[in-house]
């Protein structure tokens, strides 16, 4: 095992291979507060990439309702249980993870601490997760049986991790991380279907295909990203919760890079289960209405601060403006700027891709239309 730097943990950690960061790293921010669980992203991915034989059960993109939704079943709970209670040291300026990662907790003879979902664990995506927990008889009112008046939607794709457990798990070296953009791919010519990656990925974002006999995973729509266009699940997102781009390390963060700004400068978007140790590259703006005792475990120690920052967007023109760029263009916006009330997304060469107003103008239409001689309801 090599020693590598994982900035999300605030420390070095052990990994199967030496640190080799790509020239640039594919990354994304998902705003959980805006997701409506319409599953358009799931369908966009499904029709594009996983409509083949053996892919029927696969959702490279899935959206699950937390806390009771999982795909596959208990993907997070099982590993948290195996890993056991772990701690962060929050006494310094930056939190430091004092617990053990899945690489550091690998049992004898294993490459990582992992487990393999059974077929049936994939079989019921979304079924029952939004249902009330008890029978409601006619005439009675619904009482909340689990004492939790909250839930939220978690959209999940492969995190194209800096230290992928899928890659570390493969004894054949069939998985590689592209040096040009950090996208993690399974070499379909080399894979022999051992399913070690399925066992190793804590996010369960590699899937075994019984009809090709190989494991398959999210490819971050690399043919699109190479053309400067965001992936399918991003451009089709109804809630406009997503932004794809490239992320620098914290010491190289640029104010004018949208992802650097949200993740490193504002720290409003946080990694998913950073304690696993993979340095995942999909970042979540945590749900503001969920107790931080829950989200803290999922997104790390920065949760309370991130929520506070997010809530301040109403008075923070930069943050509000940048959030307004989400879903405004299918192009990858690697740069952004705000001038007054106008926020602009640009590419690396400074070409303007899109401009949006800080606040959408409000149009009030009179209820009576004199041309058509009708009265209409205004619905917004």
């Amino acid at each position: 095992m090599a020693r590598v730097n994982n900035w999300q943990l605030g420390r070095e950690m052990s990994y199967w291979y030496p640190e080799a960061r790509p020239q640039k790293q594919f990354a994304a921010v998902f705003d959980t507060n805006k997701c409506i669980a319409c599953q358009t992203c799931t369908l966009a991915c499904k029709t594009t990439w996983t409509s083949g034989k053996g892919q029927e059960y696969m959702l490279w993109n899935n959206v699950e309702t937390k806390p009771y939704g999982f795909y596959p079943l208990a993907w997070d709970l099982n590993l948290l249980d195996m890993l056991g209670g772990q701690n962060w040291d929050e006494s310094g300026e930056l939190p430091v993870y004092t617990g053990s990662t899945i690489f550091e907790s690998a049992p004898a003879g294993e490459r990582v601490l992992g487990w393999r979902p059974a077929e049936e664990d994939y079989a019921y995506a979304n079924v029952g997760e939004d249902d009330c927990a008890g029978q409601v008889d006619g005439g009675t009112s619904l009482e909340n049986s689990h004492d939790m008046a909250w839930f939220y939607y978690m959209a999940r794709i492969c995190n194209h991790c800096t230290y992928p457990a899928c890659l570390a798990s493969c004894p054949r070296g069939s998985i590689y991380k592209r040096p040009e953009d950090g996208i993690v791919l399974v070499d379909q010519g080399r894979c022999r279907g051992y399913q070690e990656c399925v066992r190793g990925c804590p996010y369960k974002k590699v899937f075994y295909n019984a009809m090709t006999g190989t494991s398959e995973k999210c490819i971050a729509c690399f043919p699109k990203m190479e053309l400067g266009i965001q992936p399918q699940c991003f451009v089709n997102c109804i809630g406009k919760i997503r932004m794809a781009g490239y992320l620098n390390t914290p010491e190289n963060a640029r104010e004018d890079n949208p992802l650097d700004y949200l993740i490193h400068i504002k720290k409003v978007a946080l990694p998913l289960f950073p304690q696993f140790g993979l340095e995942p590259n999909v970042y979540y703006i945590p749900p503001v209405h969920v107790p931080t005792s829950f989200t803290g475990q999922m997104f790390g120690p920065g949760v309370a601060k991130a929520i506070e920052t997010y809530r301040s967007a109403a008075t923070d023109a930069d943050l509000a403006g940048l959030l307004g760029l989400f879903g405004s263009s299918e192009r990858v916006m690697t740069r952004w700027r705000r001038i007054g009330e106008t926020i602009t997304g640009l590419d690396d060469d400074g070409n303007v891709l899109v401009s949006v107003p800080l606040r959408e103008p409000v149009h009030i239409r009179p209820a009576f239309d004199p041309v058509q001689q009708v009265t209409r309801m205004n619905c917004t």
């Binding site: 070296g173 022999r192 090709t212």
Partner: protein, 284 residues
């Protein structure tokens, strides 16, 4: 005939004679003896195997590379070998109380392999998949491939009869009368197949020929030359591997052979396997 009598005498001189349940005597040898036979067979039940002595190969867990096989599972494999006209056939038989031939997530399949040094030499390559510059040849058999060769259709319903599939785009009406366009559309959703990585059905053979120069280097051999049949019974698997005789192999020029077994029930695949070290392979 004379030849065979001589073989039996020679074998007896070094053999341990055991009484088997069925009443036949099982002649075991400390090496694998490849017996010159009248004919070669793909069939594990062929009577010709009765003429060949058995080598009982003890299996040990793969413990060289991670992920390792931590718990011993399949204890031994009973091996016989016959030769005829440039072909050598190995018959591997092992106990297994469950037939794992339907692949899926967390459902590895039963499998077995026969390994030989690519070149006969005094210094054999490292027994675990060879080493750099010292190639090994591996013939690999898999239970799901056998099921495919035996006629199991290629589709999710063959594995899950109640599975319902809304729609496969390549089965759309406009492609119905254009087989080439339909095939291209299907391959678009099967990248491994499009790359020629035939790891599943439909298949022509339940076998794959591979070469390796150490763990993690397994590569398809330039051509497939192994054939055979794997059969399941309540007691386990019997698989016959027929391949060309190793170049230069003769009564005066022995070589080595190694075996491996993967038990699907125990999650064995890839480096999680039970294997032997090199065993002397003698031409008799």
């Amino acid at each position: 005939m004379k030849h065979q009598v001589l073989i039996k005498m020679l074998t007896a001189a070094i053999a341990l004679v055991l009484s088997a349940n069925c009443g036949h005597t099982v002649v075991t040898t400390p090496e694998v003896h490849a017996i010159a036979a009248d004919r070669i067979t793909l069939d594990p039940d062929d009577a010709i195997w009765e003429n060949a002595p058995t080598h009982i190969a003890k299996l040990i867990p793969q413990d060289l590379v991670e992920p390792r096989q931590m718990e011993p599972t399949t204890a031994e494999v009973r091996v016989k070998a016959i030769m005829k006209d440039g072909q050598i056939a190995f018959r591997m038989e092992w106990s297994d109380d469950s037939q794992n031939d339907a692949p899926g997530p967390r459902k590895p399949v039963d499998a077995a392999a026969v390994q030989l040094p690519a070149v006969i030499q005094a210094n054999a390559p490292a027994p675990q998949m060879g080493e750099q510059g010292m190639t090994v040849e591996i013939a690999y058999w898999r239970a799901d491939w056998q099921a495919s060769v035996n006629g199991r259709p290629d589709g999710i319903q063959a594995l899950h009869p109640n599975a319902s599939v809304d729609h496969h785009p390549y089965e759309a009406k406009p492609l119905e009368n254009n087989e080439e366009a339909r095939r291209r559309a299907e391959l678009r959703y099967a990248p491994a197949k499009a790359l020629g990585n035939v790891r599943s059905g439909p298949r022509e053979a339940a076998f794959e020929d591979l070469i390796a120069e150490g763990p993690g280097t397994l590569t398809p051999a330039p051509a497939r030359h192994t054939s055979g049949i794997g059969k399941w019974s309540d007691t386990g698997w019997v698989v016959v591997f027929v391949r060309p005789i190793p170049n230069g192999f003769s009564a005066t020029r022995p070589t080595q052979v190694a075996f491996a077994v993967w038990e699907g029930t125990h999650g064995e695949a890839g480096s999680r396997k039970m294997r032997t070290g090199w065993i002397n392979l003698l031409a008799k």
